[in-house]
């Protein structure tokens, strides 16, 4: 019983992303660079986006924290690369709904659905959404003409 739950949470793909985060680069001249930080647990990521022709041309991700926070952010970088900001935002919204409301949505989240197991561990949902919240903040900053900022996750926010 115990191990089944752990198996559902820590899928191979997740540990793979944790051990080998994708787009684990520091971009030379990012359009926007935003730090996301959860003071409760210390999980931290820095997300860089480089825009070209209205698309997210490249993504840089650096961070430290638990397997869930780092793997989810790593998977996110793959999901948003080459997308428009609107598409990336839509995916972020769908992912948050997926975490909080479940998998009854018309649009598939594809590979991201391996994170489904997190929903059985409510205290860990914030880990999975750290990257996505940081992404939404970065897009907001970019649109406001800023080069970056810092998002500190609040304790009373579930996601």
């Amino acid at each position: 019983m115990s191990l089944d739950a752990l198996d559902a949470l820590y899928k191979e793909v997740i540990l793979d992303h944790y051990q080998n985060p994708r787009n684990n680069d520091s971009l030379e001249s990012p359009s926007v660079a935003t730090e996301g930080y959860n003071p409760v647990c210390g999980d931290q990521i820095t997300l860089q986006l480089k825009m070209a022709d209205g698309l997210i041309e490249s993504v840089g991700l650096q961070g430290k924290g638990c397997a869930i926070s780092q793997a989810s952010a790593s998977m996110m970088t793959e999901a948003i690369k080459g997308k428009t900001l609107e598409e990336a935002e839509a995916t972020a919204r769908r992912f948050r709904d997926f975490m909080t409301k479940g998998n009854d949505q018309p649009d598939s989240l594809g590979d991201l659905e391996v994170l489904e197991g997190v929903r059985m561990f409510p205290v860990r949902i914030k880990c999975a959404t750290l990257g996505w919240n940081t992404l939404q903040e970065a897009i907001k900053e970019y649109r406001a003409g800023l080069r970056g900022g810092r998002l500190v996750i609040k304790e009373d926010e579930n996601t």
């Binding site: 019983m1 540990l15 051990q19």
Partner: protein, 417 residues
């Protein structure tokens, strides 16, 4: 020595199952579990003599006041304070330290004065002094630790000087477990005319603590970490210091006479207890003190020493583990913080929970200490009167399995840890 199995029967929560397994509660440094006697004392107060204190002239108010003031006397006795007047009830350790920072620090500290802290302090013994330093222009100085997780006493002595007004330090680290040589440090601080505040949140529940022997000026501690209810704690302060201090908060109870534009203050310690106090939890705290005194604080310490020594030796069997703090159990209290090489402490915490094992993972409100150690967080197992060697065995077995689980899954992903 007492029989741990008999003790365990007094704690109803220890019967619980978590995820289909018997609860192994290794988070007593965060909050302890409560014996039935404490739970009963709460119900007894609310069902038989609930009333406000110090005001009513009816029977219930008299009984409640007597029980509340008796609790103050019992808390004073427990720490060897000469008089109950030197004990102020607070919500917890944090509030007790804030009380000193505001009622003493804000009126006493001047620009150029120094407050000496240590890098192993809990945030509750750092942030109030940061706020005070901002308000008063006083400077903060911090004592570093040595490689073995003890305070660097040489550095401490160098920090002391004529400008030192206060040394505020923990008696026992909530992360490293280090028991600090408070007596010698207090003597050194006093030789410069500085006062000494001891954060006793982790020590008063676990060690025999006598304020006269510690020679501290202030001692802050909480009921909930020593078998008592949440929401009640205490500040011990030398009575003459309390006499000289202005109020912390204003309101009912803390006054003698109120005019529209000015007031005079009540005697100590009531001067520092504005508003209706936490009567029920103060009274139920006595049941916890009774319980600990029946066991005896020396046997409580002896039991934890045994469990800690056993945990330190067994945990070393886990591959890739790093254990923080002094090596010898005698130098520490019943907490062991550790990290596994390839598994983040939050993932360790989630995995152990599946085995019914409760540990804490995070920075344990000691971010500067974790930064000093060069890490973001740790997993922490902490022990108390009811902890058994079998529970340590369960922890070690689950850590082996956790390690094995993460290695296996990562291995299947084709990228071994």
């Amino acid at each position: 020595m007492y029989d741990v199995q008999v003790v365990r029967k007094d704690f109803p929560i220890l019967e619980r199952q978590v995820h289909g397994r018997p609860l192994v509660y290794l988070d007593s440094a965060a909050t302890s579990q409560k014996p039935q006697a404490v739970i009963d004392a709460l119900a007894d107060y609310y069902s038989r003599y609930n009333a406000n204190v110090h005001r009513g002239i009816h029977t219930l108010a008299e009984e409640a006041t007597a029980a509340y003031e008796d609790a103050r006397r019992r808390v004073a006795d427990f720490i060897g304070a000469a008089s109950p007047r030197s004990v102020v009830f607070t919500r917890n350790t944090t509030e007790a330290i804030n009380l000193v920072a505001y009622a003493w620090g804000r009126r006493t500290l001047r620009p150029g004065d120094e407050v000496v802290l240590t890098v192993m302090e809990h945030h509750s013994n750092l942030v109030p002094w940061q706020l005070m330093a901002q308000d008063t222009g006083a400077a903060l100085r911090s004592v570093d630790i040595t490689e073995d997780g003890c305070l660097d006493l040489e550095a401490f002595h160098k920090l002391l000087g004529p400008r030192t007004r206060l040394v505020a330090l923990t008696h026992m680290s909530n992360v490293l477990g280090t028991v600090n040589p408070v007596v010698a440090m207090a003597r050194a601080a006093h030789s410069y005319g500085a006062l000494v505040l001891v954060d006793g949140a982790q020590s008063v529940p676990h060690l025999p603590v006598r304020v006269q022997e510690l020679a501290c000026d202030f001692l802050a501690f909480s009921g909930h970490k020593m078998l008592g209810p949440t929401g009640i704690g205490a500040l011990y302060a030398r009575e003459e210091l309390l006499e000289a201090m202005e109020p912390f908060m204003g309101g009912g109870e803390m006054i003698r006479e109120v005019q529209l534009e000015r007031s005079t203050w009540n005697e100590v310690p009531w001067r520092f207890e504005a508003g209706t106090p936490n009567i029920a939890d103060a009274i139920a705290w006595v049941a916890a003190l009774d319980y600990l005194e029946a066991l005896g604080m020396a046997p409580v310490r002896a039991h934890e020493l045994e469990i800690t020594a056993y945990a330190l030796s067994r945990l070393q069997e886990v591959p890739g583990i790093t254990i923080y703090g002094p090596r010898a159990a005698e130098d520490r209290g019943g907490v062991v913080a550790f990290n596994l090489k390839e598994v983040h402490p939050h993932d360790v915490g989630t995995a152990l929970d599946q085995y019914g094992i409760a540990v804490r993972a995070g920075h344990h409100c000691a971010q500067p200490l974790h930064r000093r150690l060069g890490i973001g967080s740790t997993a922490r197992a902490s022990f108390y009167v009811y902890t058994t060697a079998q529970e340590i065995d369960a922890l070690v077995a689950a850590l082996h399995q956790t390690q094995e689980f993460f290695t296996r899954v990562a291995g299947r992903a084709g990228r071994p840890l």
